[in-house]
Symmetry: C2
Subunit: 401 residues, 2 copies
């Protein structure tokens, strides 16, 4: 039995980066960048008005006041998207809109609120200082600057930035292809009728969705019966993917069956059993670059170990390293305890109460109770040396992604 941290280290040591593909930037949301993106030009590419108003020589406005406005001649009108060749000299101004290029000669913009138009002239009621209300070329982005780095997640701001840089396409990591197999003769496919002793397979649905939410491309290979040949055939199929997730069949009684099948299929075991509750009977191995996880059959154990071990593996295949969950301080609403021999992952919910957060553990912490995962939005982690935390104590909840 190894510690969770050690298990993760072994897994990450086996990860190979996936390759990349070019996609339209509108399709790049939630993907992972596979290239460093540099700016080919300044943004904006020119000095421009930061306000609607009048481009002026700032010294012309030195004496301006509400009572004694300065009067300037308006020699042009420049909406955004247009420009003028006219030059602003003493006594002159150019009507200008936010985003329009500054005309030559002008060094500041008087806000329209501080002016009054009068035919071909404008009254200026307020002094401006040099450079006031002007935004300069390269203010956002400088030509040659590294703007986005490979391995970053593409969020709305990154999509907008790519557009702003004039990029139609961007290189992103290919989604790792993940095969999912449920094992167990008690499992029935949704849509069929349950017979005595049977339950619906839910693990492959949880894993399918968890793979999607971590940036992988999931494939359900169905339910493998607890027969050697059937299991072996499914495993062989699954080994053509980059990741293979089995759930069930790795507890003591079934262990031989699944490991035999994995061994026959050429999978090299790197660990079995992790010191975590729930989720102890977890297998990890590799074959020709395919990572193979044997997750426990209990629905909560399978989901929790996905979060702790498989999500970081998928992120790492994508070149991401941001799988650490955000930790939020909260007041424990109910005492929690553990027998203390294994790290314990308690399913909990962050509940806002006035200005603070409560950490409310799910009522049942049994690994067969899927309802606890429906309740939870976070994990409260008890290190193995901690046996109990009392109600009212401050704890950290780790938010599920």
């Amino acid at each position: 039995m190894i510690e969770l941290e050690e298990a993760l280290e072994i897994i990450l040591s086996q990860v190979k980066l996936v390759s990349s593909e070019k996609v339209d930037i509108l399709s790049s949301l939630s993907r992972t960048l596979a290239e460093d993106v540099y700016a080919d030009f300044d943004i904006p590419g020119f000095d421009r008005a930061a306000m609607d108003g009048y481009a002026v020589l700032s010294k012309d406005t030195n004496s301006a006041s509400k009572k004694k406005p300065v009067i300037l001649e308006v020699i042009a009108n420049v909406p955004a998207g247009y420009s003028t060749e006219k030059v602003v000299k003493n006594g002159r101004a150019v009507r200008i809109m936010t985003g329009a290029p500054m005309p030559k000669g002008a060094d500041a913009v008087v806000m329209v609120e501080d002016t009054e138009k009068e035919e071909e002239k404008v009254k200026i009621f307020r002094k401006v200082t040099c450079q006031k209300n002007v935004s300069f070329a390269g203010e956002d982005v400088k030509k040659g600057e590294l703007i986005l780095s490979q391995g970053s997640l593409v969020r709305p701001a990154e999509v907008a930035m790519l557009a702003s840089l004039g990029k139609e396409n961007v290189l992103v990591k290919i989604k790792p292809r993940v095969a999912i197999i449920s094992t167990g003769d008690e499992l029935v496919e949704v849509g069929r009728t349950l017979q005595k002793g049977e339950i619906y397979d839910s693990n492959s649905y949880a894993l399918f969705s968890q793979v999607l939410s971590s940036g992988g491309e999931p494939y359900r290979l169905g339910i493998a019966r607890d027969k050697r040949e059937n299991l072996l055939a499914r495993i062989k199929e699954g080994l053509s993917y980059q990741l293979l997730l089995l759930s069930g069949g790795v507890s003591v009684g079934d262990y031989d069956l699944v490991t035999d099948a994995l061994k026959k299929a050429g999978v090299q075991m790197l660990f079995w059993k992790v010191a975590v509750k729930p989720g102890k009977p977890t297998f990890f191995g590799v074959r020709k670059g395919t990572l193979v996880f044997g997750l426990p059959g209990y629905p909560v154990s399978s989901m929790v170990n996905f979060e702790n071990l498989v999500r970081p593996a998928i992120f790492s295949m994508l070149g991401r390293d941001d799988w650490q969950r955000i930790r939020v301080k909260a007041i424990l609403e109910k005492a929690v305890s553990s027998r203390g021999r294994r790290k314990k992952i308690i399913r909990a919910k962050l509940v806002k109460e006035g200005d603070k957060y409560l950490a409310v553990p799910a009522t049942s912490q049994q690994s067969s109770v899927l309802k606890s995962m429906v309740w939870a939005d976070s994990f409260l982690i008890l290190p193995k040396e901690v046996e109990r935390i009392e109600k009212g104590e401050e704890v950290f909840l780790e938010l599920l992604q």
Copy 2:
């Protein structure tokens, strides 16, 4: 000019719930439930072994010890998915696997680790109490129980729960259809060459991605030129959607143009200008159930107001009320200040340092600097009465979704 909270209240008062559609549960991830889901049966549907081992009468094991095992006759072997009609009586046991139905008569399971098989018999080395290692029918879910509520976001746990309940399909809210128009003669579509005074349209890309990430279905209607007819035609097209987002053209200078066009198109204005920085020049109106937002043209202002006003509107159309951002305590890495007349939204990043978090504000807080949104993963919100927060003080960062 109204406060942000008031603006949000006005918007929410205009929201109409969208209708619903049936989808396959594997396609329901990240959608919003449109039905309450009850359990049609207990899960599990039968009492079952919670461990691999032997189903016994617990009192038979009372005298069992490592040195003096109790010996029982093994009358059947029940793997998961199977059952036996045999009855466990005094002196007898049934070999049983995790998840298999408990045989009649037996009231506990001895873990396989505490036994030793001997032909047709088994040695029991440890006493079990009544009900030990048995999980009971309805342990996870009880028949008739309300399991999932409409308005909830479907996450992996909900997909798994639906499978576990035997549901192939589920009713979810239709994604609100959102039209996006950028306005401004300075804007150029990505892929074209920039002329003097032009920049690439990035707002419609940001909004497209923000709509996607909040559960809507975005449609880019392109760039409207600052000509009355062109703008009016686009707006009319946009009004056939459930939500219309315009960006640009709502600052003072252009205000008449856009509001004229909106008025001509029959849009009733409910507010213009919100006391928030960035994002002041924001318009909101309605026409026949379509919500119309006129967002500022500066990329940061547009994105920030989407988060503050449009995301809650979309969530609310879906029947969700969980748009409040999670707040995380962090130590301010650099002083921040505000002129204090409007609520200020500072773009910041949560940076883990050892056991605590730092709040690192983006270097530039100008609304034209999109790079600040690329930097940020959270907002630090300065109420209008707060003019300055010093380095080293404890603040709350609100995490972007």
